[in-house]
Amino acid sequence: MKKLKLQDVVPFAAFIVIFVFFTIASGGKMLSAYNLRILLDQSMITIVVGLGVLFVAAQGSIDLSVGVNVAFSGVLATHISLRLSAPWLLIPAALAISAAVGLVIGVIVSKLKVSSFMTTIAMLIGIRGVVNYIQTKIGVEYLDVSLKILNEPYVKIPLFIAVTAVMAYLFEFTKLGRYSRAIGENETTARSVGVPVEKMKIAVFLLSGLLAGVGAIFTLISVGGSTNTMGNFLEMKVAMAIFLGGVLVTGGASARIYKVLLGAFSITIIVNGLALIGKSESQISETVEGILLLLILYAATAAARRDRRRSVKQAVASETSATEST
């Protein structure tokens, strides 16, 4: 029988508590078909972008540049597609630009050995400056109407499911996912086995950038145009979703696809639930999110330590029984 790890139970318990609390507090409004649609819609972008960042987090690194990358690739791609009057060019343009940003970060982190936290924070400052500058030149731009179809549920939802499925496949069933978790577990080990660590680091930042591009497309089609506030705060929302879902900050085997979904829905339910019970002010949701994040992170790390102590104890027990039997 597979033993449940305490560190994996904590985020589930938190999710259920949050869910039940707001369902009751909102008098069941939470579960209305209308509200469930909203929940899905509000979680979508966090999930899509989070699926990319998960690879980075699995390696024990972090990507705080995804929010600004959404804005950068979104604003530029919109402009390009409008200038060339090729509406559908939006998609490849957004993906190419965001992937390029990811690639640059990957190279800086892996080859120049600057910590990912520092690098992506610098990107967050720097690129946000560039986006604001571009915006002052070109102003708000609207997408071509032909792209409206993408925002129809029968297109958008299958698209979302497809992206999630592909990322789940890559993460759970390919070398990229396994090697990334190995790097997070122990980078020295991964290296001494022969895992191409540098290449894997570049690959995950590229992927994280690419998914930020997908996130940009989802944002653009639901908003209808580009503004410089695109992707604001998204990197934090994504990081929170991943950690609330139960991925340890050190990454490794604790990183799983389902945790991104779990964490993203937890956050959305908090924000949405607070709004349903009439507490929509940002300061309230910010406080609740901040404190919950602290509590859940604390519970998860403490649980991980407990799991570890328990297994070490087991090892010592089997060690002594082995020496006694010889």
Binding site: Q59, V114, T119, A122, T188, E281, Q283, L293, Y298, A302
Partner: protein, 320 residues
């Protein structure tokens, strides 16, 4: 023999360093069409660079503990509020004590959370930043506190943020921080822990106790920075959506630059110098018409990466 060589090397470096700064200043003067080496520009730089210097000094202590506290911006906002409220009540004593009290209290709380929860400090700091930002918003919108915090610090109590007093504070701060960092047991202990915590602990240094004491020092510096910020700007804008984190970016660049120079200049002395350099550069950019808030931020980001790369040079360990 080594001693005298050492001294000569130091002198040569000092000469080159001062020379480089002079050349840079002249160059700046030239490219800005004679607008750099003027009283007004230099005054602005001097005033600008004081409170980030205090934050950067705080970072010197924080990083020695291995902590990256992303909530400092949020703390400074709340500290500035306190500075404003108490300043308007009690004058200069209120300006200083208000900022100091909030800085000390919150940074000490942060250190306790970092030390005991064992959550990596940067992510715990982000959570704390959210809470501190939210508190600031509460204070701003609540009817009872709004009239207190949403006003400016009275003109007559802003002297600490203006010349010449800001430079006096800087000088006093420099002596005090240099003293604490280099000549006290707590300074030596925290540097030992930052350098090699295994040896430090074997040599009888108590990790937790040292960390909490350093929390008080960092809190003092951040608290003073809040008071100086309020004195300089006269009022504080509330930041939400984690934008308070951006208040750390300039101090971070200053710290990283000082870190690169640390083999040559004691980091506590290097911080104000680097602060002046960084603000001079951005002032020149502004004089050249590079818009602030947009392209200047882009250049700041670039600086952070370049300083990070140079400072990291030669490190072969595992970097996440």
């Amino acid at each position: 023999m080594t001693e005298s060589l050492e001294r000569r090397g130091k002198l040569i470096f000092a000469a080159v360093f001062v020379g480089a700064i002079a050349v840079l200043a002249v160059l700046f003067h030239a490219v800005t069409g004679g607008r750099f080496l003027t009283a007004s520009t230099l005054t602005i730089i001097a005033k600008n660079s004081v409170y980030p210097t205090f934050i950067a000094w705080g970072l010197c202590f924080l990083f020695a503990c291995g902590y990256t506290d992303m909530s400092i911006g949020g703390v400074v906002v709340l500290g500035s509020f306190a500075s404003c409220v108490f300043g308007n009540w009690w004058g200069y004593a209120g300006v200083i004590l208000g900022g100091l009290a909030v800085g000390l209290l919150l940074i000490f709380i942060n250190f306790n959370i970092f030390a005991f929860s064992r959550i990596p400090s940067w992510i715990a700091g982000i959570s704390l930043a959210m809470v501190y930002e939210a508190i600031a918003v509460f204070l701003k919108v609540s009817d009872s506190t709004k009239p207190l915090v949403m006003v400016s610090l009275r003109e007559e109590y802003r002297g600490l943020g203006q010349l010449p007093w800001s430079l006096v504070i800087l000088a006093v701060g420099l002596v005090a921080v240099y003293f604490v960092y280099n000549l006290t047991t707590i300074g030596i202990n925290i540097r030992a822990i930052g350098g090699n915590s295994a040896v430090a602990q074997k040599m009888g240094i108590n990790l937790t106790r040292t960390l909490l004491k350093v929390g008080l020092i960092a809190g003092t510096l951040i608290g003073l920075a809040s008071a100086l910020q309020e004195s300089y700007a006269g009022m504080t804008t509330v930041k939400t959506g984690l934008t308070s984190m951006s208040m750390l970016f300039y101090p971070l660049a200053i710290y990283l630059l000082a870190q690169i120079l640390r083999d040559q200049i004691n980091i506590i002395i290097a911080v104000p110098i680097c602060s002046a350099i960084v603000y001079a550069v951005f002032n020149v950019l502004a004089l050249l018409g590079v818009p602030s808030g947009t392209l200047q931020e882009a250049i700041l980001g670039l600086f952070l990466i370049v300083f990070g790369v140079v400072g990291q040079h030669g490190n072969r360990g595992v970097v996440k």
